[in-house]
């Protein structure tokens, strides 16, 4: 399952097309793969059309639209995995994951351990984050799942990683949570994505931009902002390395620590709240592992500790962007 580098056979795809393609490849290659979720069958093929065409191609027995019953969806995925299938469940938004915490945390994540390794659950849950539709449709709770032993968490940024990680999740023998940031899903930008059964290993970060002065650690929807900040800073002669974690569990400590050991300065940024967020673990880890090697304390640039506001005037300042990241990096470079 080594990371395959994009090749001649790449195709230009949007993030959304890459997800659709991954599901298409999985359904095509493995008869035990099936999808379930609200409104995922044609029409409409998903409320944001990520599963468009798949029920037409593979049948509604394998691409199953469900009632609005998140607990039933998660439970059915667990049971189907127990029965030898590889379910890919869609929970429309992270905020609705609140409804499946019992199924996912108490049951899916703990099952391998509770069964002493005699049974396991190869299931994937896809969900969207960062939707920007007010307090109940926009939340980022990935930190919760990082804290749950037994579930892997992937948070891709690029179309290629979206495809490669999703295929890895589906082939994985453990429960995987796959996060799809709305800004990426909505983006019309295309980039090269390898054809076929392309896999990106779960648990490997990517250095999205090389740099030597400071490390910006991020994932998911914030990676583009981090890259934009790095580009701006380059003009100011600050060389920022951007580490795109891609997976939150397992977390690729090595890549993070290698980068910071080189730069001696780190900024961690995400769209989740700062307090007790993913960046807390990353900051603590860096400080603990590279004690005495840092020029400056790790800085966290994250969302305010508030529900996501609706008014644009507030929504705009709720989560970080390229300029707040750049500002913090300048601070750290002082």
């Amino acid at each position: 399952m080594a990371s395959i580098q994009p090749t001649e056979t790449d195709r230009e795809m949007t993030f959304g097309e890459a997800i659709n393609d991954a599901l298409d490849v999985a359904l095509g290659n493995d008869p035990t793969v099936f999808l379930l979720g609200e409104d995922i069958a044609d029409p409409p093929g998903g409320v944001v059309r990520l599963t468009h065409g798949l029920s037409t191609k593979y049948g509604t027995h394998r691409v199953r639209a469900t009632p609005i019953s998140e607990q039933a969806i998660a439970g059915a995925a667990i049971g189907a995995a127990l029965g030898g299938l590889r379910p890919v469940a869609e929970i429309m938004l992270m905020d609705f994951m609140t409804l499946v915490m019992d199924q996912l945390v108490n049951h899916a994540a703990k099952h391998r351990y509770m069964s002493g390794g005699t049974s396991h659950l190869p299931l994937t849950v896809r969900t969207r984050i960062g939707h920007r539709r007010g307090a109940q449709h926009s939340s980022s709770y990935e930190a919760w799942f990082m804290h749950v032993p037994g579930i892997k968490v992937c948070a891709p940024t690029t179309a290629a990683d979206a495809k490669g990680l999703l295929l890895s999740c589906i082939a994985d023998d453990d429960p995987c949570l796959f996060l799809e940031p709305t800004p990426m899903v909505r983006s019309r930008r295309r980039s090269p994505v390898p054809e076929g059964d392309y896999r990106v290993p779960i648990g490997q970060a990517a250095v999205a931009r090389d740099g030597s002065d400071v490390s910006i650690i991020t994932y998911g929807q914030m990676t583009p902002a981090a890259l934009e900040a790095a580009a701006t800073l380059a003009d100011e002669a600050i060389s920022a390395e951007v580490v795109d974690l891609r997976s939150l569990v397992p977390l690729d400590h090595r890549t993070v620590l290698n980068s910071v050991a080189k730069t001696h300065r780190a900024v961690v940024t995400h769209a989740a709240a700062r307090f007790a967020g993913p960046g807390a673990e990353i900051s603590a880890m860096i400080h603990e592992e590279l004690f005495g090697e840092l020029e400056r304390p790790v800085h966290r640039v994250a969302a305010a500790f508030t529900p996501v506001p609706f008014a644009q005037s507030l929504e705009q300042v709720h989560a970080p962007d390229a300029s707040t990241i750049a500002e913090t990096v300048r601070e750290v470079m002082k």
Binding site: P67, A135, A304, T306, S313, H318
Partner: protein, 336 residues
């Protein structure tokens, strides 16, 4: 076909009440049309869940309640909210995220609350309002007042577990709650028969010993009567009612959804049954409203809508330093 030859049946509601009901329904219709026109024209950004076709379903229920009764609604809540007495300014303000919004723009489209009018909470989570309604009902019971709580939810919400927990608890405790199922026959892009074999959603109440009524949600008088009966039962202390109000969806799930997956004939039929002209025409046919009066009224309301929208558009959004307020009570040391 026209809705002119409609027969809403006899009714003993005072004419003033009938006219008020009509005025509210027409206000909802015109406010919605105006707001969606603004969105299509790019006058302002936003998102919106249309209620066209369910004005009677909403207003018929709330007209049968008292102003001090409680209500909980959903993201598709503008009809409920205006019926419950919120001003157009407060609604538009919130839809546009302005300080003049009923929640100062912090809640927005899916989270309107107007506690002074008994509109206690709007949820964006399908089905989640129902257990909360029980708590309001319980507060009335424990405080010894006779307020009734209504909670509306879509047909799709009947697939949500929380509703069934709520029904059992409401039944057990004889809570003064009306579970109002706005059955528009669709949950997003999935038709009712695509997600359940239950023929009549009100049947879901039966095992809990809760009366389950199903009414034509395009006939506001029928809705009113059923809701009045449910409210009376609740106020008497006899407990909850499940009221299924069938009002087929006319538009897409959200503004921008063309509803291309919907059957055209069915949509056409729903248009014919459009409850707003139906009531207007009936009022005219009954002589409660002159044809000219209807036109005048429509113009008047359109002006009010325009003014309210202008007020909202002319008002500010909260300044950035309000980002961190209202997380906790004032003065609490909130994490960064």
């Amino acid at each position: 076909m026209s809705s002119a030859d409609v027969d809403l049946g006899a009714h003993d509601l005072p004419v003033d009440d009938l006219l008020n009901i009509h005025r509210t329904m027409l206000t909802i219709r015109l406010a919605e049309q105006r707001f969606m026109r603004g969105l299509s024209r790019g006058e302002f950004p936003g998102f919106y869940f249309p209620v066209q076709g369910m004005e009677a379903a909403a207003v018929g229920v709330i007209a049968a309640l008292r102003p001090d009764d409680y209500y909980i609604t959903t993201y598709r809540g503008i009809a409920d909210i205006l019926a419950k007495g919120s001003s157009l300014e407060a609604v538009f303000g919130e839809l546009l995220g302005r300080v003049t919004g009923m929640s100062r723009g912090k809640g927005g489209t899916m989270h309107m609350a107007d506690p002074d009018r008994g509109m206690m909470l709007t949820t964006g989570i399908v089905g989640s309002g129902t257990p909360i309604a029980n708590g309001l009902g319980l507060s009335a019971q424990l405080l010894g007042n006779d307020r009734v709580t209504g909670v509306s939810f879509g047909d799709g919400a009947t697939s949500i577990g929380a509703l069934h927990e709520a029904l059992n608890l409401a039944s057990l405790w004889d809570l003064p709650v009306i579970f109002v199922c706005h059955n528009n026959l669709w949950g997003e892009c999935t038709p009712l028969e695509g997600y359940t074999k239950t023929a009549r959603l009100a049947e879901r109440a039966a095992p809990f010993g809760i009366p389950g009524l199903t009414v034509d949600g395009t006939n506001v008088l029928e809705v009113y009567d059923a809701a009045a009966q449910a409210a009376e039962r609740a106020r008497r202390g006899d407990g909850p009612t499940f009221l299924e109000v069938v009002a087929p969806r006319i538009l897409g799930h959200y503004f921008g959804d063309t509803g291309s997956y919907m059957d055209e004939a069915a949509v056409e039929q729903a248009r014919v049954n459009d409850p707003v002209p139906k009531l207007g025409d009936w009022l005219v046919s009954q002589g409660h409203l002159g044809p000219d009066e209807l036109d005048t009224l429509t113009g008047q309301i359109a002006d009010e809508v325009e003014d309210a929208l202008a007020t909202a558009l002319n008002s500010d959004m909260l300044p950035a330093d309000e980002l961190r307020t209202d997380v906790f009570a004032p003065g609490v040391d909130t994490p960064r």
